[in-house]
Symmetry: C2
């Protein structure tokens, strides 16, 4: 066992040189490898390495939040990311980078380097994202959700994974606090917003008993509906694109939960982009429809093909299976709607906000876009329980 | 570590003599202790031991089902029973026997000896059960369910237990197969019934697509709604009574699941008793009302007192909490109704049937009682989704 240490550029060079499988992917001599740090998310160190034969993306947990060294954090988050990638890769193929290496002592991963891919959020900001990217994300969520669910495999195979990911408490705590609770709590120091412009609406969000009840129902759904293995943080910063090559990254928040959580975070981020870029509302609504159409097609096709492989639904005939699919999709859309609303609010007044608002040319317009997003988020949360179809979801859009 | 061996009477005598804490509870010299085997359930060996100072109930896993040595089974089931007792004992006090000792190598337990208690099913059969016993069971389920739930404690404390009990796959497999699936599958060899008298209705139950759909929804509830730590097998054979001293035993099926599962199995067994003893229908309906009243009172009182200790519902004000309690009780009653129906059917045509039917004086009357129970079970399953109150449940009774 190797004691943990945080690797810097030369540390990585030496580590990769001493790991034959990785060194041979890079090719040539280690002195000639190019390494650069590209850490961008809030949590981990990330380096891109290239050699004569190929490239690697290298990621390591730090003993604290990367952007806040005073916020201490266990090192195991890359362990859960590796476990997630191994669990989902057989189901989603090229929609995820290939994992080459995981070191449980140094808590580091080496995976396929995605070049010249861009993070989707940035590609949207700079206008280089090609319309229709949501088809791949719908396919990803539909396949990963069905094939890790109780309908696709004996319950013993599922409970083993449920138990393993139940230990991912550090990152689940972040979701519980920052997505599901803190934004609705007055005086919580992790919230921040454009003040005084948004003080009134934030005050409303934090003192509305009806909203608190709806948020509580979503808390319950998140923690007590282990339908499938979730990515757990599927926003536009966890997706890389290059033309129509779309990849999902950063699975360290993985856990078993309601399928509508992954879908809702994704849709919430599309709507945040629309709030910040009003001229793109139609496009984002198209992306939502495209996402759902591909999600539903993949999810239901797999269910029809393999829906008697598990312990739930093995008794259904074809007609019963179709009815159950419709009911399941309605329930997923309800969850999606609520979680999309939570994501819009927490990304506007919570701890980790989104850069999409930088598209607004000045503070007054930024405040206006944020206000629109907050009202949209509230409407989605309050109406989630009655929203069963993509048409009903789009009818709720007020941006 | 001691290698596992199955203890016979003299094996137990030696084991207890060499375990000072247990020997001192019995008192005197080991040669004078009285031991007798009282194995009664399907799975384990059980011995009662008495000495000058007190008694013990001693239980050990066998490497197979006790009543079917060809059905091999891992030894860990007493491990889960011990874990369950330790988790629930602080919440239910005297409603469970005290656990004195657990040996993970020999997979044995020693607990408080319940004398002169009788198994409730037997006490009902012989007419010595005192009306109102269901008050204690309602209290037990209400307290255990609330205090092991996500509303009473931080999610990290709950997921740790969810993960631990997720490993109880052997006994959960029995529930999934024998309660939730096999009775609805034509040709399954584990089913048996009074034939030819019941052939027609069994054929109906096994070829009804609407029933299969409703059963599938209950399969989904059982596996994907980890609301609280369940006993997992709460029938009238898992309860001992002596006057108004009521104790729950045999927690080896424990797992996290929907609260209505424990409640529904219990109510299903009361209704089976009524089906077999038509003159007791009013009494059993009274017991169901008593059970629910005490369940709801305990569950809601604890929620009002401690319902902001967990991560679900911490944002609710008093009025929001009251509304959430009502909604939760409605949802629990729906589950209760469906699982009660499943229990009535599986205990009449499945692998493990109930002795209550022995009360009928002849085969024709037994067949008639069983037919009534099957029709009642089917009605409960089909109407479960609309049954939100004890009044609505009792309106469904056709016995």
């Amino acid at each position: 066992m190797t004691a943990y240490r945080t690797l810097d550029i030369e540390g990585w060079r030496a580590y990769l040189a001493s790991t034959p499988d990785l060194a041979s992917r890079l090719g040539g001599r280690s002195e000639g490898w190019q390494l650069r740090e590209v850490s961008d998310g809030n949590l981990n160190n990330v380096f891109l390495v290239s050699g004569p034969l190929g490239g690697l993306c290298c990621k390591q947990s730090l003993p604290h939040v990367r952007v806040d060294p005073d916020w201490k954090m266990p090192l195991t988050r890359t362990d859960f990311e590796a476990r997630y990638m191994r669990a989902v890769a057989p189901h989603v193929g090229h929609l995820m980078p290939a994992l080459y290496h995981f070191d449980p002592d140094l808590h580091l991963l080496a995976m396929e380097s995605l070049t010249p891919h861009r993070v989707l959020r940035g590609a949207l900001a700079t206008g280089v994202a090609a319309a229709g990217f949501s088809a791949r994300i719908g396919e990803y969520v539909g396949r990963a959700a069905f094939l890790t669910s109780w309908r696709a495999r004996p319950f013993e195979a599922v409970t083993e994974q449920v138990a393993a990911f139940a230990a991912n408490t550090t990152l689940t705590r972040i979701t519980v606090d920052l997505v599901l609770t803190a934004p609705y709590r007055a005086g919580c120091k992790r919230n921040h917003w454009l003040s005084p412009e948004l003080d009134d609406i934030v005050g409303e969000l934090q003192s509305d008993p009806q909203l608190a009840s709806a948020v509580s129902r979503l808390q319950e759904r998140f923690l007590t509906a282990p339908q499938a293995l979730l990515h757990g943080d599927l926003h536009t910063g966890s997706i890389m694109v290059d033309g129509d090559d779309v990849r999902v990254i950063d699975g360290e928040f993985a856990l078993y939960g309601p399928i509508g959580f992954d879908a809702g975070l994704y849709v919430g981020n599309l709507l945040l982009h629309a709030a910040a870029n009003p001229g793109r509302l139609d496009w984002m609504c198209d992306e939502i429809e495209t996402f759902w159409r591909h999600f539903e097609r993949n999810y239901r096709t797999l269910w029809s093909e393999r829906g008697r492989s598990g312990d739930i639904g093995a008794l259904l005939d074809d007609s019963g299976q179709q009815q159950a699919q419709v009911a399941a999709c309605h329930a997923i859309m309800k969850d999606l709607t609520g979680f999309a609303g939570l994501e819009m609010i927490r990304r506007t007044i919570g701890y980790a906000q989104v850069s999409d608002y930088d598209a607004r040319p000045n503070r007054a317009e930024r405040a206006e876009a944020m206000r629109e997003a907050l009202m949209q988020g509230r409407a989605l949360i309050l109406h989630a329980g009655r929203t069963e179809t993509p048409g009903a979801l789009l009818d709720l859009i007020t941006l």
